[in-house]
């Protein structure tokens, strides 16, 4: 009954608005240093041919600048209950991979041996096979909602979804030339080196969970994955969402629900107390040493969905960074001064009046999409229309 819990957090917002007297302000309580570095294990054992990825990291202190501290150099081994032993390959940055076909008909455990000598072992994990699912979207009140739809069964009632988003965006102006300061010439840029078109990425940050048992015939209909707000650049050209669906057992569901609650529901008047989040990985010698994370196993399903701008039209996009973009003209005499310093980049020649009097110019911010974090390299998975 997520709806109950989620909505309770609105009480306080409602209350504050009602009286307009309360307030919420940033606050940094003094917290005695938490010395222990807790191991964080994240991943999924993919059986039946998929790629297994496990990430190891450590906690960092609450106010530290470090976003994450990956733990590399560990030895990770997946052990079959009946047969088989599969060491994972360390890819650096705390990432460990395995792309071998693990049989579906047995349970697995994961053992972790860190460089500092500590050993951890997971409980036995039984693989669960995810049913098929699909994703859909609707446009409502100017926003686009993306949903997942699936159908559970008796043994597969708890679902977790994660998604990755990819979308294209364009700069308002295109720089076709480079100014060569040494020669004073304009050099045409190769088609593939143009920087006006980028792909950008994001991923799910909320924990998206649902239990099919509360619905008729175990059918989950239109569970919201995300809402794309109106004016978002994501639907400006073409957008792709790639979703992976996992089936969880009850214990894993409780773990994820705890993570979700501890992130989404905390702090309002009627919000629940923080949950102690359990793990199925334990220190080999001392069970009191805490570990964060829960490893599940099975076969996940994936789905992708493309949305073109014209499918949701009218869709207006506003990219704040591009609001002030104007086109200037630079006379030939000023090339060195304007283009040489990097203040301006040339767009194309201004030949409205013959002979050509100079170059149209703009700034890198308005011509190089990579500045906003995107990449000009088309991802391998990207399918054009």
């Amino acid at each position: 009954m997520d709806v109950l819990l989620n909505n309770t957090s609105y009480y306080i917002i409602g209350l504050l608005l009602l009286t307009n007297l309360g307030c919420r302000e940033p606050f940094f309580p003094e917290i005695s240093d938490f010395e222990d570095d807790i191991l964080v294990v994240e991943g999924y054992i993919e059986v039946g041919g998929g790629t297994t990825q496990i990430n190891l990291s450590g906690t960092s202190s609450l106010y530290s600048e470090i976003a994450t501290s990956p733990i590399s150099g560990g030895e990770l081994v997946i052990q079959g209950e009946k047969e088989g032993r599969w060491p994972l390959q360390s890819m650096g940055n705390g990432q460990y991979l395995l792309s071998e076909n693990l049989p579906e008909n047995q349970n697995y455990s994961l053992s972790i041996h860190l460089e500092n000598g500590e050993r951890y072992l997971s409980e036995m994990i039984s693989p669960l096979i995810s049913p098929d699912f699909d994703i859909s979207y609707t446009k409502q009140n100017g926003d686009v909602q993306v949903y997942t739809n699936t159908r559970g069964e008796e043994q597969t009632e708890f679902f977790l979804w994660v998604y990755e988003e990819t979308w294209m965006y364009r700069t308002p102006q295109i720089s076709f030339f480079n100014y060569d300061e040494a020669s004073g010439n304009m050099v045409l840029i190769d088609q593939e080196d143009l920087t006006y078109r980028c792909w950008n990425f994001d991923q799910s940050r909320r924990v998206i969970l649902e239990s099919s048992a509360r619905f008729e015939n175990n059918r989950i209909f239109q569970k919201e994955l995300l809402t794309i707000d109106s004016l978002s650049e994501k639907l400006g050209i073409r957008y792709r969402i790639h979703t992976r669906q996992y089936v969880l057992d009850r214990e894993a569901y409780v773990f994820w629900e705890g993570i979700r609650r501890n992130s989404d529901d905390i702090g309002s008047i009627f919000s629940p107390l923080p949950s102690a989040v359990s793990s199925n990985i334990h220190h080999a010698e001392n069970p009191d040493i805490p570990v964060i994370g829960y490893i599940s196993a099975g076969v996940s399903r994936e789905k992708e969905l493309y949305i073109n701008r014209d499918e949701v039209s009218p869709w207006r996009t506003i990219i704040g960074d591009y609001q002030g973009c104007l086109i200037d003209t630079v006379a030939i005499a000023d090339y060195d001064e304007k283009f040489g310093q990097g203040e301006y980049v040339p767009l194309y020649e201004d030949c409205e009046v013959f002979p050509c009097s100079g170059f149209f110019a703009s700034t890198t911010g308005c011509t190089d999409c990579r500045i906003r974090g995107g990449t000009t390299t088309k991802p391998d998975y990207w399918k054009d229309e």
């Binding site: 009954m1 409602g14 009286t19 309360g22 938490f34 202190s61 509360r214 107390l273």
Partner: protein, 924 residues
């Protein structure tokens, strides 16, 4: 008879006994004050001058005062002060009796006891006007006060030294009985308190007495009586319309010394109205929070915690009906209409034997049933709410009271910006009271009481919340004879909430929770003899709970129709208690309550092996029970003992021990009471909560009971408290036993209080040190919170200081100021962060390992009464003030949430600014 000679002899005897009580009596009467310069006068001359100016009369031996030269300047001084100054150096004692007679004596050693033949002598000696007691005389109160009332027949029961005096105390204005007035005499320990019909009964030695009737927080009335035998004396006294002697929240005056109960706090409506309020609404629950030992987790939460107990451990009664959600509008207002309330009692310890079913406290709110004189009404208009009430006689024998309240807060939402996303929000509430009383004859009284309250609110168009209380009950009080009184009660209480969610036609559903309880009580009091007063009876409550049902809404909805099995149970309690007065000093109130609880079918109970964790995997099957079948029985005795030992008239020691059982549990994993919390009955897995409490107190009054001080310590132990596994789902859960963690609790503390009841400046200050700890039961198979160690509960706030002051500028304008400091409540903080599932997450400390910053708040309010001309269309008053005068942003909560992928801490305050309020009240 040689009066002059005789009087001296008698007076010395009178003196003996009166000195002991002079402190208590002299100052409570209307006092005359003296002004003037008395320079170089002989004492006799001084006495003459005082007698000329005042009604005081002096009695002394001329030899005693020979040679005393008076040299005092007086300005509006009490006579005691002057006499003290003059006579103390001369080693002369004085005493003033209620009739303003001042007696001087050189004797030093004073005995408190009375000579056996004292009354005889006095009766012979003093012969004031004797008048047969007749009710008509009550009309002239001053006259009545100074007459000698002869009660009883002198020849009847002449062998007995004592006689019993009975009567009814009622209000001069309304004719309604005055409840809880203390009746006592000077020099005697005998006391009586008027009951609900204003009746008192007191046993006194035959002879002359000054009988004092003290209405708490109001006027005092007195009668000179000559008690010849058993008889009756009715008294009419001023009620407290506008408190001429102001009393704020009060543990009963003098009764705090006399009564055996500890931890009882009573609040009068007058005092309630003087407390600064939020948004101008007088609020019972907020008043309760000003009492020592009562805490809350935050400003907008209506649940309160008494002596380290959870919010669901308070029995909240409104005219004997159980109220499950005592709040409106997210806890901002309490559900009780202040116009309809007659009085509030909170029992923190020493809970009377007729109450049970909750571990921590009983909050007994009594409402009006209307006066007998004339139709009256009133109401109030505030910024967000308005109320109206009407009361009066229906016929000669019956009265009624009606009240209603509503809000118009919806218009506020209209101002909200559409972009805020809350312009679709709505919130409203209303409540209605209807009370009716019929007394066909003096021995019977029938009451009918109905109460309805409802709240509805939404934050977007999709989801509508509502909850309601509905209570109906009928009571019959019957006086079988002089000694036996019976009260019978039949009632039905209902509480429920619903959520209507329709985001789209496929996911639309309605969720509902409701509980119904029907109760039958009979309660008897029986005056066995002078020393024993018995009370006995039984309570039966039949619970019928719908723990939750989710129903799809509309044809298209694919939401499942899901219902948790209904729960039924019968709770029966049989009790007997005795108030036993061993001697005037030692009073013991002891009782036994035997509770039988049956959890009834139809229901289906999951089965698990013993001695193991209960999960879906360990479930071995289920057993179905038919309708009315007993699934599980819990039974056991509850013990209630409290005793008072009076060291003297102004000092007493009390001790108490009680045990309690609770079969009804609120399922919550939030800190505050949420409108979506459900209740659950004890079942084979959820054992009844049990608790006991030891308490010890020392009570001392100073300055003739105008200053009361008390110190109480307590220790409580609780077991079978309900906590939940992490991630437990509390609603629509048919396997709740899998998620419950059996928890034990302990609480202890000391409560210190000093209170000044009278004078222009009155009020109190209290300090409480208390702890409240919880720990998962070591036998629990599942998760153990904080590895099974003791940890502070959500409402463990060790230091608490409360100050409330009231100052009367004039009779019509008074101001009150409140200040409250307490340690911040415990909270679970994040102590580390980590990355998981694409976002930064936090790792939490042990439960409640940290505290939010301390709490401090000051409120100010003014009450301005209109003039009180009798002939006036309506009496009006204004109440205005400022809540949170200092504007301190007291944090309600601290929380952390990922903002754009990084952790940000926030402090949330509910009332972060000074909040002015104004309410217009009227009476007609």
């Amino acid at each position: 008879m040689n009066k002059g000679k005789m009087s001296k002899k008698v007076l010395s005897v009178v003196f003996l006994c009166l000195v002991a009580s002079s402190l208590s009596i002299a100052q409570t009467t209307e006092k005359e004050r003296i002004s003037g310069i008395f320079a170089g006068l002989e004492f006799e001359r001084f006495a003459e001058m005082v007698e000329n100016k005042t009604s005081y009369r002096f009695f002394f031996n001329t030899e005693d005062v020979n040679g005393i030269v008076v040299n005092v300047n007086a300005y509006d001084s009490p006579i005691e002060d002057l006499l003290g100054e003059i006579l103390k150096p001369e080693a002369i004692f004085f005493t003033i009796d209620p009739e303003q007679r001042i007696f001087l004596s050189k004797q030093k050693r004073l005995e408190i006891g009375l000579p056996a033949d004292f009354f005889q002598i006095q009766q012979d000696a003093v012969q004031p006007n004797e008048i047969e007691a007749s009710p008509a005389e009550n009309a002239n109160q001053d006259f009545a006060k100074n007459r000698l009332w002869v009660v009883g027949q002198s020849n009847a029961n002449s062998s007995k030294p004592n006689a019993s005096l009975k009567g009814i105390v009622q209000s001069v204005e309304s004719g309604e009985p005055i409840i809880g007035a203390l009746v006592y005499t000077s020099g005697q320990y005998a006391r009586s308190i008027t009951d609900e019909s204003g009746q008192y009964e007191i046993t006194l030695p035959k002879g002359r007495h000054t009988l004092i009737f003290q209405n708490f927080g109001a006027y005092q009335e007195q009668r000179q009586i000559n008690l010849l035998g058993d008889g009756q004396l009715d008294v009419a006294m001023d009620d407290n319309i506008i408190s001429l002697s102001a009393v704020t929240v009060t543990s009963e005056k003098s009764a705090n010394i006399e009564r055996p109960e500890m931890g009882l706090a009573s609040i009068t409506v007058q005092s309630l109205k003087k407390l600064p309020s939020v948004l101008g609404e007088v609020d019972v629950l907020r008043a309760v929070l000003t009492l020592p030992g009562v805490k809350t987790v935050g400003e907008a939460s209506a649940g309160f915690n008494v002596r380290g107990g959870a919010a669901d451990q308070n029995l909240i009664l409104y005219n004997e009906a159980t109220i499950y959600n005592p709040t409106h509008l997210f806890g901002m207002f309490s559900a009780f209409n202040p116009d309809m309330i007659e009085g509030v009692d909170l029992y923190k310890a020493g809970i009377p034997v007729q109450f049970g079913g909750r571990l921590s406290s009983v909050l007994d709110v009594k409402s009006k049933f209307g006066n007998k004189e004339k139709i009256q009404g009133g109401g109030g208009i505030g910024l967000m709410t308005s109320r109206l009430y009407l009361e009066g006689p229906l016929s000669e024998n019956s009265t009624f009271a009606l009240g209603g309240r509503g809000t118009y807060s919806n218009w506020l939402f209209g101002f909200l910006d559409e972009a805020s996303g809350f312009s679709d929000s709505r919130a409203s509430f209303h409540d209605l009271n209807m009370n009716f009383r019929h007394a066909p004859d003096p021995n019977n009284e029938i009451t009918l009481s109905a109460y309805w309250s409802q709240d509805a609110f939404r934050f977007d168009k999709d989801t509508l919340y509502d909850y309601h209380n509905l209570n109906l009950n009928v009571g019959w009080t019957h006086f079988f004879n002089d000694k036996l009184e019976g009260h019978f009660h039949l009632g039905h209480d209902q509480y429920g909430f619903g959520i209507l969610s329709q985001p789209d036609s496929l996911n639309a559903f309605h969720f509902g929770f409701s509980m119904d309880q029907s109760s039958w009580k009979n309660h008897f009091t029986f005056d066995l003899n002078e020393k024993h007063q018995l009370s006995f009876g039984m309570n039966h409550i039949f619970y019928n709970l719908n723990p939750g049902k989710q129903i799809p809404r509309g044809q298209e909805s694919i939401v499942l129709d899901e219902r948790v099995n209904r729960e039924k149970a019968l709770e029966s309690a049989f009790y007997i208690g005795d108030e036993f007065e061993l001697d005037p000093k030692l009073l013991i109130n002891y009782g036994l309550r035997y509770v039988v609880y049956n959890y009834l079918g139809p229901n289906t109970i999951n089965q698990y092996p013993n001695q193991t964790i209960r999960t879906d995997d360990t479930k071995t099957g289920e057993i179905s029970y038919g309708a009315g079948e007993i699934i599980q029985t819990y039974q056991g005795p509850e013990v209630r003992i409290s005793a008072r030992y009076a060291i003297d008239n102004f000092t007493s020691i009390k001790a108490g021990f009680n045990t309690m059982r609770q079969h009804l549990h609120m399922l919550t994993n939030t800190a505050a009471i949420a409108p979506t919390d459900t209740w659950k009955l004890s079942d084979p897995y959820l054992r009844p909560q049990r608790g006991n409490q030891f308490a010890l107190g020392y009570f001392k009054n100073f300055k003739n009971n105008t200053i009361e001080t008390s110190a109480e310590i307590y220790y409580r132990k609780m077991k079978n408290l309900v906590d939940f596994r992490s991630g437990a789902t509390l609603i629509l859960n048919n396997e709740l036993e899998q998620d419950v963690l059996n928890t034990r609790g302990q609480a202890y503390g000391i409560e210190l209080m000093a209170k000044k009841n009278e004078g222009k400046l009155n009020g109190w200050i209290s300090y409480t040190y208390s702890r409240s700890l919880l720990g998962t039961n070591p036998n629990e198979w599942g998760e153990r919170v904080n590895s099974g160690k003791w940890y502070p509960s959500n409402f463990d706030q060790p230091h608490d200081i409360m100050m409330a002051g009231n100052f009367e500028f004039t009779k019509r304008i008074n101001t009150s100021i409140n200040a409250n400091y307490s340690t911040g409540r415990p909270i679970t903080y994040p102590v580390a962060k980590f990355n998981y599932n694409g976002s930064e997450r936090v790792y939490y400390s042990d439960r409640n390992a940290y505290r939010i910053p301390d709490y401090f708040r000051v409120d100010l309010s003014f009450n301005i009464e209109g003039n009180h001309k009798i002939r006036k269309l309506a009496h009006a008053s204004w109440s205005l003030g400022i809540y949170n005068l200092l504007g301190r942003a007291n944090p309600y909560s601290i929380y952390f949430s990922p903002e754009n992928g990084t952790i940000q801490g926030y402090k949330l305050s509910i009332f972060a600014r000074p909040i002015p309020f104004i309410t217009y009240n009227f009476k007609f």
